[in-house]
Symmetry: C2
Subunit: 415 residues, 2 copies
């Protein structure tokens, strides 16, 4: 048996035990993980130092080196995160629905773990602890494949997590790490659909496309967030300005930040000049349609490509639309089905926007920046899905489970 298959097989075996562990035992493991990570902070930093040094030698960019770095603050955050997951309700075993059939059969849907969750991720070594915490709490075994640039950091974190499992009476194979930088290991992993139940890639678009195209098991991912805010003709323009500013400027480098602002033609001349001025002061580069530029001449010209663009930066595309319908069509055509908002005081338009925009999160009168597991009240998230099956939007603990049917009879047979 190959190395990767053996790891996956052992994860599968462990998952059978994990699925039936009590919440107490799982929480004990998570709390032990948090304590051990704090205790062994120096060790983690030493191993992380090796990765940083190798990264520098390999000429990694400053941004990548920063993502790789584990300092006391980030190590502390890993521990806090694990304790927060321990404090969340356990989704496993919940009967979400149960009904009685005319023949008296009771039929219900019970939440159970998925089994083995594969995580393929780049650079950030804190994902190792976060993802493990979510998987263990939801009764899943986790099979981790981190980036080669973080291998020393990931290895030591996994050792610590395994030690905590052993302390708490959780099988050590509940946390497995593919400890090789061979690229072929990823491809092998993606073929093991009889052992790995779901794969979640976290990283750049290249990684995600590779995983989506090669995996035989289901994959949950999002490529990008091209998020819109549409300022309707019935908008409270003061509110619209606050929401648009927040959606673009508060943290431009994340997937739920606004990339395109759409403005109804009837309010464009009142709204755009001041709004654009405010963006300019915040250092936002604006790229507008012709109508936008007629109103605010210093705005750069937008090309067709701009409407598809996820800038992840202080850049914003701006378009004046003739109608509500044009706004919705623009969003459904150019967007990435992530998070989109309307600002309007008109009830019917708000409700229509909710129904007609085909995105994971659709907002009325709020900033798209709220698309996040914590902000939605899920407690934590494994990532955000722009797919439609199983989960759309932030993937929380519940989304690491599925429902099986449980049927209670008293000798029922089918006629």
């Amino acid at each position: 048996m190959s190395y990767v298959r053996e790891l996956a097989q052992r994860a599968k075996d462990a998952s059978r035990i994990l699925a039936n562990l009590s919440t107490d035992v799982k929480n004990r493991a998570l709390n032990a993980m948090a304590s051990l990570i704090e205790e062994k902070a120096e060790l983690i930093k030493r191993e992380n130092e090796k990765d940083l040094k190798a990264g520098e030698e390999a000429g990694l960019s400053k941004a990548l080196l920063d993502r790789l770095l584990l300092n006391d603050k980030r190590i502390g955050a890993m521990a806090v995160g694990l304790r927060e997951i321990a404090a969340l309700p356990d989704p496993v075993g919940e009967v979400v629905k149960m009904w009685k059939r005319p023949n008296g059969l009771m039929i219900g849907k019970m939440r159970v773990p998925l089994g083995v969750v594969g995580i393929i991720y780049e650079s950030r070594p804190n994902v190792t602890a976060d993802a493990t915490g979510l998987c263990i709490k939801s009764g899943n075994a986790v099979l981790l494949r981190g980036g080669s640039e973080a291998i020393n950091s990931n290895r030591v974190i996994v050792d610590i997590l395994k030690e905590a499992c052993a302390q708490a009476g959780v099988p050590e194979d509940a946390v497995s790490f593919i400890d090789t930088t061979e690229r072929s290991a990823v491809l092998e992993m993606l073929k093991l659909d009889e052992l790995i139940d779901i794969v979640i890639p976290r990283g750049g678009e290249g990684l995600i496309r590779f995983v989506a195209e090669n995996a035989r098991m289901p994959v949950v991912y999002h490529y990008k967030g091209v998020c819109h805010t549409y300022v309707d003709k019935y908008a409270d323009l003061g509110m619209a300005e606050r929401i648009c500013y927040n959606a673009k400027v508060q943290r431009p480098g994340v997937c739920n930040a606004m990339e395109t602002m759409l403005v109804h033609k009837d309010v464009a001349s009142e709204f755009l000049p001041a709004m654009c001025e405010r963006f300019k002061e915040a250092g936002v580069e604006l790229r507008g349609c012709e109508k936008t530029r007629a109103l605010v001449p210093w705005v750069k010209e937008a090309t067709e490509d701009d409407w598809y663009e996820e800038y992840l930066d202080l850049i914003l595309a701006v378009k004046v639309v003739d109608s509500f319908e044009e706004a919705v069509n623009h969003i459904n055509k150019y967007g990435s089905h992530h998070s989109d908002a309307i600002v309007t005081e008109n009830y019917e338009r708000g409700m229509r926007f909710l129904r007609e925009v085909d995105s994971a999160a659709v907002y009325v009168n709020a900033s798209t920046r709220f698309t996040d597991g914590f902000e939605f009240g899920l407690g934590a998230e494994m990532g955000i899905s722009t797919q439609k099956l199983h989960v759309r939007g932030p993937m929380g603990l519940e989304d690491l489970t599925c429902c099986k049917y449980v049927i209670l009879g008293c000798g029922h047979i089918r006629e």
Copy 2:
């Protein structure tokens, strides 16, 4: 643009309109489909005759020719099925949950259609109408790819369904049919993940594996049903006999029929001889473990392969187990995670079986034959999933939708 891509693009465009149609309009389309199918029964039979003739010439088996056949009864059943789907509640637009965050944001989950559903199926032309009915009712466009042996039947049915759409004001592209027997069309379809949201293969294991391995979009399927009934030491043996007999004999050719019977050693000598005798009278061939054969010597010897086998016939594998745990482990190892039952009067064992058996449908004291959309009260089903993501077990109307987040604010911005 290729033929298949153009069809898929038009289906995608139609799906945007379908997603926002009222329930009334969708029901009108389904009822018009039913009426037109009845009206044009003679035309359908004439086209079906062509397929039957070609099938005979090509030397199709009797069973396959029977599956291909459309007679008055089967045509009537298609119409009835469509009217039944029209009578079901519309899942689209349901807000399944809504909660308030501490900051006042209201966050809810709203059911919306998946978009474009691809169906790849073999021989049975009635699937054309059934699948279309479920997709339209749930607001999805459907892209059908039937088997070449049924192409004349499928083509005429699709023409009728499209005519009904036009009558009801539903876009005709809501129902699309890949009208070619070229095998490459399937492969092309499976690559169009930006246009087709989900693919459901219905047919033999070969077809399903091909689709699962080549599709870039999510696939919902089940390979096979290796279903078990475990007769516990605390079983009511009279009930156990009735349940096991029903699970094996009532309709052996379907995926929820029992293929392996497990019996606890403490009740084997009391239970097995009479049970086996009853199976024998029903013409069931028994293949048993050594302990079974020690009690009932005329039973044939089972090999390791028998435990994996989906007979779909009057054949049953029988095994005596030493413990509850052995039964659960056997089911999780050899089964296909479809439908499995325990017969027991012991409360704790019943509850443990529900939790520990990793199958789509887990039963206490009932026949596995109930795994079915109608029997579960879902009204109808698109198929049965033995996968874990999105849907496990019978796939009903609700499972042809997904939930998006809808967020209602009043000027909320993120701090």
